[in-house]
């Protein structure tokens, strides 16, 4: 019983009282047993958007890719750039969670679950885009049957499927004790299928030392292996571009640049999801300003890393000005794509740093605004990479413009509806905060230190001192 007693003492030392724990469990498990009408309305709205997207995709299947804005000169567009963007978002979730777990950062324990969910859901949604981009999706298995080892496309298939499998496992492992909690706590409050699901998913968890050891070992393996896998996946995605013979893609830093960009946009996505779920599930006590500020600082730090990569990229290629680069720079900075490029630079790279630099804006609202800006800017950045790369003429022809068609926008909207739908459904089946980790490793948020009230101490008026000298004597 020593281990149990030690744990109990550690909990008490961390301020985990039974009442606090009760409140935490009640708050986190509440959405799993009760559903409001607004929720059903929201799901209905998402299904309508999704149905529209499916209808437009069927139209695309019937008519071919001619219904998109893509043509022979710009053959990658909305679908591929969204694929890169969404896969990028997926990376921060598990990567950030694993890195912070490795370094035992306690502040992040209440948000790891959301981060890991983002990874899995983003991979599920993002993985659809290369298929949507195919004019003949029925031939997708040719990639396996006739795949070539030397093709980055095949590496990409392996990398994404490996990462999805690893991330799902990494999401599931810390869920086991929470499934057991749901099994034991929810009882008849939850529908029968959920009770069955929790019972199976809990894998017989009773919290014995042997079970804890097994879980700890499994998590240790996964948290170590998932970091290089996550890094390698986005590196491989960057190689799809970097190994294509296009002047703007001729870069040796693309791998690291894409990984940094993935973390950057992923952190922004986590912040936004955190803000939404915190408000909807009333998790303010467990996801406080601490998490927002910490992630805001990570965001600002990553913005500076992105500035560094962009400078490194543009200075080296701009210095050499090889064929195609002058056109590319002109296109990007003063011509066709300039509004998007400067929004990316000012809104996506500069604004987050400024927001986090000033104490007045360094709060939850400021961090959420910064995250929203970064998310939009990073989607634009992916747009710039893909479209500007293909706009550089390979022969003596005029560069063609690219604008996504209604079909592409519809599918794009449908993908985000699917993303929101999966998250919304998952939020009703899985606890969105890792209860056991918060209880065991973090405890309640320390109360902010009392700031002494600013008082103006009255200065006593100096007593009149009799004049000793006769400097000025006035007489009337």
């Amino acid at each position: 019983m020593d281990a149990v007693r030690e744990r109990a003492e550690a909990h008490e030392a961390a301020g985990v009282t039974p009442a606090w724990r009760e409140r935490l469990e009640g708050r986190v498990l509440a959405p799993l047993s009760r559903t409001s009408r607004v929720y059903y309305a929201w799901i209905g709205f998402l299904l309508v958007v999704l149905a529209w997207a499916v209808a437009t995709y069927v139209h695309q299947l019937q008519r071919g890719l001619i219904v998109t804005g893509m043509r022979d000169r710009i053959s990658w567009g909305m679908y591929i750039l969204t694929f890169v963007f969404v896969i990028g978002i997926s990376h921060a979730g598990t990567l950030l969670s694993a890195i912070l777990r490795v370094f035992k950062a306690r502040w992040q324990l209440s948000i790891t679950r959301m981060a890991e969910f983002i990874t899995v859901v983003a991979l599920m949604v993002g993985g659809l885009f290369p298929l949507i981009d195919l004019g003949r999706p029925d031939r997708v298995l040719n990639l396996i049957f006739y795949g070539r080892w030397q093709s980055p496309l095949l590496w990409d298939v392996f990398a994404v499927t490996t990462y999805l499998t690893g991330s799902t496992l990494y999401l599931y492992l810390p869920l086991v004790p929470d499934f057991a909690l749901c099994r034991d706590r929810l009882g008849k409050e939850a529908p029968r299928w959920k009770r069955w699901f929790f019972s199976v998913a809990a894998a017989g968890w009773r919290g014995t030392p042997r079970q804890r050891k097994a879980l700890e070992r499994a998590m240790n393996v996964m948290m170590i292996v998932i970091i290089p896998v996550a890094v390698s996946v986005h590196t491989v995605i960057s190689w799809i571009f970097a190994m294509t013979l296009r002047a703007p893609f001729n870069s040796t830093v693309f791998g690291a640049y894409f990984v940094a960009g993935a973390i950057f946009s992923g952190v922004a996505a986590i912040i936004l999801l955190m803000a939404v779920l915190r408000r909807l599930l009333h998790l303010e006590e467990y996801i406080s300003g601490t998490q927002f500020k910490s992630l805001g600082l990570v965001l600002a730090g990553m913005a500076l890393v992105m500035v560094y990569f962009n400078l490194s990229e543009y200075v080296t290629t701009g210095y050499k000005m090889e064929a195609g680069v002058p056109f590319h720079f002109h296109d990007l900075m003063v011509s066709y794509l300039a509004p998007l490029f400067w929004f990316y630079v000012l809104g996506g790279l500069l604004a987050p740093v400024l927001i986090m630099a000033f104490p007045k804006t360094r709060n939850v609202r400021g961090v959420v605004v910064a995250a929203a800006l970064v998310l939009v800017a990073m989607w634009i950045e992916r747009y710039l990479i893909v479209v500007s790369g293909f706009r550089v003429p390979l022969m003596e022809y005029q560069a063609r413009p690219y604008a996504p068609s209604l079909t592409e926008w519809s599918v794009f909207g449908g993908a985000f509806a699917l993303f929101a739908l999966i998250i919304s459904v998952f939020a009703k089946v899985f606890p969105m905060v890792s209860v056991w980790e918060v209880v065991e490793h973090r405890g309640p948020e320390p109360a902010p230190e009392a700031v002494p009230e600013r008082r103006v101490i009255p200065v006593p008026l100096p007593a009149p001192v009799p004049e000793t000298g006769a400097a000025e004597v006035s007489e009337s």
């Binding site: 149990v4 022979d72 030397q150 086991v176 004790p177 909690l181 042997r210 070992r217 393996v221």
Partner: protein, 206 residues
């Protein structure tokens, strides 16, 4: 009329290797006839020899004349004849060249003499049946790894075969997936550990 010129040219050339011939005349120039011959069938990607004989209307060989060999190509909305080889005729008026066939199906191979101050231009064509579906795209850029994206050279035969194939990538994948398997193994130990040791305050979490 054109057929007559064809017949005349073939007769004048008197060559078994001339399956088709053409004769052209320009006012003020000496009329010429040209015949072209190529093997009737070739594999895609194979190098084939093509010969043409250029003669005057009287059948005299025209030496030191440049013959262009072309095949028709289509790219996007444009189409035309692409020069695949060229040759200079010898004393017998025969020009020989070798070119690689890069399109399958029935390919028209043309021989063209563009004329000069003395001789009028002439053209002739013949058909070549190209079969097969070999991959002809030859990557010049990038790192070429023997066995991975480049053929194994004779001096590399001594290398272990696995090192020159896709196996290194497969091995990296297998390492990652076996680590996933290790985590799953530990996961499967959880149900077995339910009975052993004390339980945390009678509840799953506590």
């Amino acid at each position: 009329m054109k057929r007559l010129w064809y017949l005349a040219a073939a007769t004048l050339a008197g060559l078994a290797l001339v399956p088709a011939a053409a004769l052209a005349q320009t006012v003020g120039s000496q009329p010429t006839a040209i015949g072209v011959a190529v093997a009737p069938r070739a594999e895609l990607g194979q190098e084939v020899q093509v010969q043409a004989r250029l003669v005057t209307a009287s059948g005299a060989a025209i030496p030191k004349a440049v013959i262009f060999f072309t095949t028709p190509v289509t790219f996007l909305n444009a189409s035309g004849d692409m020069v695949v080889a060229q040759a200079t005729t010898d004393a017998q008026g025969i020009g020989t060249a070798v070119f690689q066939v890069r399109q399958s199906g029935q390919v028209a191979v043309k021989a063209e003499f563009r004329g000069d101050a003395t001789y009028a231009p002439a053209k002739a064509s013949t058909q070549l049946q190209v079969v097969g579906s070999a991959q002809l795209y030859d990557q010049k850029a990038g790192v070429h790894l023997p066995g991975l994206n480049a053929p194994v050279a004779q001096d590399q035969v001594g290398w272990p075969h696995w090192a020159l194939s896709g196996w290194p990538i497969a091995a990296a994948l297998m390492i990652v997936w076996s680590l996933f398997g290790t985590a799953v193994y530990f996961l499967t130990r959880i149900p077995a550990g339910a009975g052993g040791g004390e339980q945390d305050r009678g509840e799953a979490l506590r």
